[in-house]
Symmetry: D2
Subunit: 457 residues, 4 copies
């Protein structure tokens, strides 16, 4: 997942970036950072932790200037994660630069190895460092030309905010896999953010989506200049609608909550169940469950309560307190469930471990039958465009039939939305990226650095 | 609100108390504490902050012993709050004692002044200190007799867990205003907690509610001994069902979620609205909104998204980012709302300030009409049995008609559940405490130390 | 040890208290606190930690008013030390009160038990709570009369700063065991502090010592009023000169550094050694070592380096890194020591464990002979007037001859200052409290609640 | 300043590095870091703060392996210092590498600009990044050959510890400006550290200094292999003896404390003063003051007390509390000073601001005369080999005569050690680096990237 934000020409640039990252905290909780530029210098603060933990009043004394970019990071692979936070800052031939990146470069190892072969060093594990290197290595005279040069060398999913001391560049890859929107602040400044929910919080007006293949250049005293870097080959990621994005966000003109509702309704047609009650797995399954219940004409209830106080660190539970990990987060309303035939709606099923625990929880709460329905197709393939995703071996649907999985997780029945159903729910006006479901890579063409955006954690 | 827990005869007493307090975090987030007894000594750790913040692995090295009591505190009046955490520990004539208290003593100032007149000192602002003093001042020879003596001198709402080095005493006032339940742990230990959701997390079996006027005495090698201290005059607090308790808890045999559903259904009968969509104010309004939508036969959606990452401290927003306080927490799904007639369901209306901001938010999101419905009656009187509650002057319903309030908050229409409707929803088998609605105090008889449990924050 | 400060009539009262406590940090590092009064209310902040850790800018927004009292606490007995910080605040019959106390009440258990018998509760382990209780229990009408009443009931060593919402009372016991001085701030305010080094930091002018048996009353618009509560029976504690106080402080008109110099000179006469070099154990042994070296006419060097970065928590050393505890603090300059006969001067010898490690360290550094000299007499008796001090069984001099101890610690020779020598060094104008050396209690007359102020840690 | 440590072949490598960095904390307090290698991977933890603050038990679970290198950083220029901590880690063509560097590359900007011209990016402001880049850019096949290649491209002062997954390389520049010693641990492992005081703490045996121009290669199963990279042109930095190093350290076979003693004795010959008392500025002036007092035959006293509790953050003092910065650290023993003619000995005089405050403090304490003596020559030139040092314009001796400075700082008289006197005190067997005093650069030959190691802070 991850989130980026770029703010230009606002007298509160770094604070606007801060609130925007706060609104997009659901896209990444591991680390966060903001850099700002005040013509003289780029300032940077980044660290592990939530937005509300990393920044304090003193931070904004450092983060001066009318341009700021920021980033929320979803997760990191290694144990040395002090380094793996964005934006990435560097001094290079043309001065100072800072880069925030949301996406996944499918040719990152090729590029990195080529750069390393030529003598580059990589201080982190992030592919953002590739981008900075490619800009620095370019022989072009201006930053804008170097950025264009860099763009020709990277493949995959990317949304970029790049900041020099005076300008800001925003780029969305030609596939448009990750979302990116443009808005305008009340003080006349411009904002670009991964999700429109950021605009709502900072009071920005939504202008339009950044186009696939488009670059926006922000310069003092000018409107943002648009340049088409590539012919668009639009493949927005279906997972944004399935569970990445916040329900109040609008991606590609389509509201996330409503798309989930439609997926739920379709699921009711495709995979109905004779049940007394429909429950969502909170919070991402709520809208789909609403649609499913509506489709079946069966009552919907928020029958699983989510604990909002789950912190980062927990005292090790004793042997007497078992199955605690799911129970710390989710708790069933027994009175609703007892003696009932339940349909439980989740947004996806990856490894099956959480689903198993949820089914068990419902049965212990007295459910007579537990029909699990997934408001997405079976995830059979890892996805090259995602970050930190399971391998194919971990994907239970890659090697098991629906019936086998139902048995494994203990559900009375199990049903998935069909690929066709997903497509029609999202709208046939777009060729959504459905790699995880159908294995069809629309770019590059091989799957040797795979990964699937789904994650159960 | 506040929450208490008592654990007796468990080899993991303090950890069970910890998880129970975690499950009951919604009842109080200001401070928390646990004391434990190991025959030799009572150990105590308490501080400001959430359960997951205050306790770490080292804490459980200190909190040894097979008996532990704990407390979550809702709020404190003053600025010196390092002192205002529970349990309250003291050395007194018979040894060491620790007390955790959930409730509000209506005669606390009288008792405190009388104690102070006789030379007592009060180091905190908590009425729990009254209780410790009264036990210490009693002339009786045994702790149990002193506790009984103390009980004759306090009036109001109270659930108490009292711990000596070897025993635990649990008491619920005769009105049973605050909930308190008894459960049994898998290792044979006993647990008493304000809400049954604590039992679900620690894997305890629900045994029964502690009776109004009942004292339970826990001693080594014995079953809990029950003693009736008072004839019960049962007046459970309606606000527990309205919004204090977690929806999965069972109070007095009645599930909170289901009671809220019924209140919503009744509200639909009493105060219907011609709307296209019913939305809850999350999370406490969810079940009532479901009932209201069902009653009207109108769609229900989770059309307001709650941000789960709201932290303790926020960077001061700039003037450009207005109305941020509500927007940081709640965000509307515009696509659902645009052009619609909306019914928005909240659990109560106290000062009207939050309601006003929510109505404004919905209108800005494009709602054509906003019909606010409150799944509780008008709060016209402060409540003596609650803590840290507004004065009558702050209660908007005390001085304004429903129409006037509707106008003030900008709603197209406004409706409340009737007192009769509330009573019937909760069940006519009980005389619920409805002081805030009808002003009728069932004990003591005067209202000179008033307070209402409602709080909008 | 411990330290108190009281500030009255200064517009920066709590900040002056803060800097004063900082200057007296050597008297107590476990916890610290400041309370302030602004006519309406007493405010209090106290916690574990150093002065620079506990207070931040926000603290001084709370600690308003022109009167403040503060305390540094040396140590606490139990594990529940969140409670054992001063000042102690209480509401009592006449209003609010806050008390800071440096000393040790020899009849504290008697008083506490009597209070407990009458129904009092004790929430901490500090005898300061006794004082608050005695004031609260008094039948007198005014605070000043209650304080006088209280004073008749406590015995032992005490310096008190007592604060109501509008006044401050400062009292020194009739024996004058602990130091207490009066100074005047540049802004006209008054300051009372345990050591004059506090005055130097805050730019206060030293006025005079508070007299033994004297009470000073500070009231708005008046000079401090002095009242003699007792006929003085002056027995200042010799340990203040031996090692409690900072060398730049002046106690009873005598500078601490100079008194240590004189003790060292006298020790050279009484217990000379044929050595090549005199070294101090830093920092408390420095001045005495200078005097000893001068007396012998032998070079003095700072041949043991003290590490200033010793923090609170250390990673557990591995088995390979032995004897680390002393080595983390102290490190010998081998080149100075190699092949030399060394006299090493310490301020006292209690259990002998640290001395043993220092001797070993010097021998490993190449010392040919190590003659240990203690600039104080043998500690044979516990002291009733000190806090947290070893029992007689722990005092190595109580059960071993000088020769036996020398052998145990591995020193070539060992010598102590004689009691007579100490008396003459300090000055025969005073009857110093020498209980630890001669066992003669000057007040009360029995030694059943013993304790010695010395501590090796 | 800064400090480095390298540990090879020890089962507690990272803990040994930790304790070594703790012993060398005086060389740098801003940030610290340790990387360790376990054949598979290099692990790294670094952050702002003291050694005791940055590392906890969890850190050592990450820092596995039998080889570890570490660094203490003295200071950083910018505001973005999260980045400016060492060691610097990178992935490059041959795998992973980590580098810790103590020194200053005089050609760092030339090298950096050349690297940047070729397309390199610099993520920090540290010249350590140069070193990593040069290794990565080398065309050689093995790390050792790349290191040798790199060495030919850097000039200035450097001590390096370089770590791959399996080997460690330690290099000292041919001038030997910064100290570096080799020791052996009790468990057979090897240790290299900036100062021998680290060996004393971890119980390592001093083997020998690393030679100027020498590289040591540590490989599994072998003794360290020595290789001469350059003909030595030994110019150890005089400031190590003057004030950088801890007095118990031995550099180039010469003990720091003894050298300071000799400088003080020589200063007494060259610049005597008719005084009653000699005082040091603690702690770095102590040994020289001892020598000066001995030379004059005048008493020495520790007449200025240093406060050991000075923390990182201080509450802003009020206007009433002036000159607080020096007073927070240093406090005079008035009784010793009153009415006396004082010689005060400091280790160096850079800007003169601290000296002025010390003189003022002594006069306010009653000194009749204050003769300041500096146990080093006048600092007239910035030094290219130091880090973060003042420019020539800031050096008061560069533009003022001794008499003028005496007047400016308010001293009765002022005297410096002569350059000749310094040379003879340190020993004529070496050509010490005296750039700051005589302006003669022994390498490179121009002074265009100047800097002086002295710092008054």
């Amino acid at each position: 997942m991850c989130a980026i934000v770029g703010v230009y020409g606002s007298k509160n640039a770094s604070k606007v970036a801060y609130y925007s990252l706060f609104a997009m905290q659901h896209r990444g909780q591991e680390s966060t950072g903001i850099s700002s530029a005040d013509d003289e210098k780029i300032h940077l603060i980044k660290a592990r932790g939530l937005v509300t933990e990393v920044f304090d009043d003193d931070a904004f004394k450092v983060l001066t200037g009318s341009c700021a970019i920021g980033h929320n990071r979803y997760s990191t692979a290694g144990d040395d994660s002090v380094l793996d936070a964005q934006p990435v800052f560097a001094r290079y031939k043309l001065g100072e630069i800072s880069v925030a990146h949301n996406g996944n470069l499918v040719n990152k190892y090729e590029v990195r190895n080529e750069l390393i072969d030529k003598g580059a060093i990589f201080q982190t594990g992030m592919d953002t460092e590739n981008i900075v290197h490619l800009i620095a290595k370019s022989q072009k005279d201006s930053l804008i030309d170097r950025i264009k040069d860099m763009i020709t060398k990277i493949e995959g999913a990317y949304c970029l905010a790049i900041q020099s001391r005076t300008k800001m560049f925003v780029i969305r890859d030609r596939f448009g896999i990750r979302p990116l929107s443009l808005g305008r602040l009340a003080d006349g400044g411009w904002i670009v953010a991964s999700e429109t929910c950021a605009f709502d919080l900072v009071g920005a007006e939504f202008i339009r989506d950044v186009e696939p293949g488009e670059m926006l250049v922000f310069e003092e005293g000018q409107e943002p200049q648009s340049e088409k870097l590539f012919e668009a080959d639009y493949h927005p990621c279906a997972f944004e609608y399935i569970y990445f994005a916040r329900p109040d966000s609008i991606i590609d003109g389509k509201n996330v909550y409503q798309k989930r509702l439609e997926m739920g309704r379709r699921l009711a047609q495709e995979s109905p169940a004779e049940v007394d009650l429909v429950l969502p797995v909170p919070d991402s399954g709520v809208a789909a469950a609403r649609g499913y219940a509506e489709g079946l004409g069966v009552p919907f209830e928020m029958g699983i309560v989510r604990n909002h106080y789950v912190g980062r660190t927990f005292i090790e539970p004793t042997q007497e307190i078992r199955d605690l990990k799911v129970k710390l987060k989710l708790s069933p309303v027994k009175h609703l469930i007892e003696g009932k035939r339940i349909a439980i709606i989740d947004d996806s099923l990856v490894r099956g471990t959480t689903s198993k625990q949820i089914v068990k929880m419902l049965i212990e709460a007295g459910a007579k039958e537990v029909h699990m329905r997934i408001a997405a197709p079976e995830i059979k393939y890892p996805c090259r465009y995602g970050i930190d995703t399971p391998t194919q071996a971990e994907l239970i649907s890659a090697s098991h039939s629906v019936e086998e999985i139902a048995k494994k997780i203990g559900a009375t029945s199990l049903g998935f939305l069909s690929i066709e159903g997903l497509k029609e729910s999202l709208g046939t006006d777009r060729n959504y990226s459905l790699v995880s479901f159908d294995g069809e890579y629309f770019a590059g063409g091989n799957a040797d650095s795979p990964g699937c955006c789904s994650s159960e954690s």
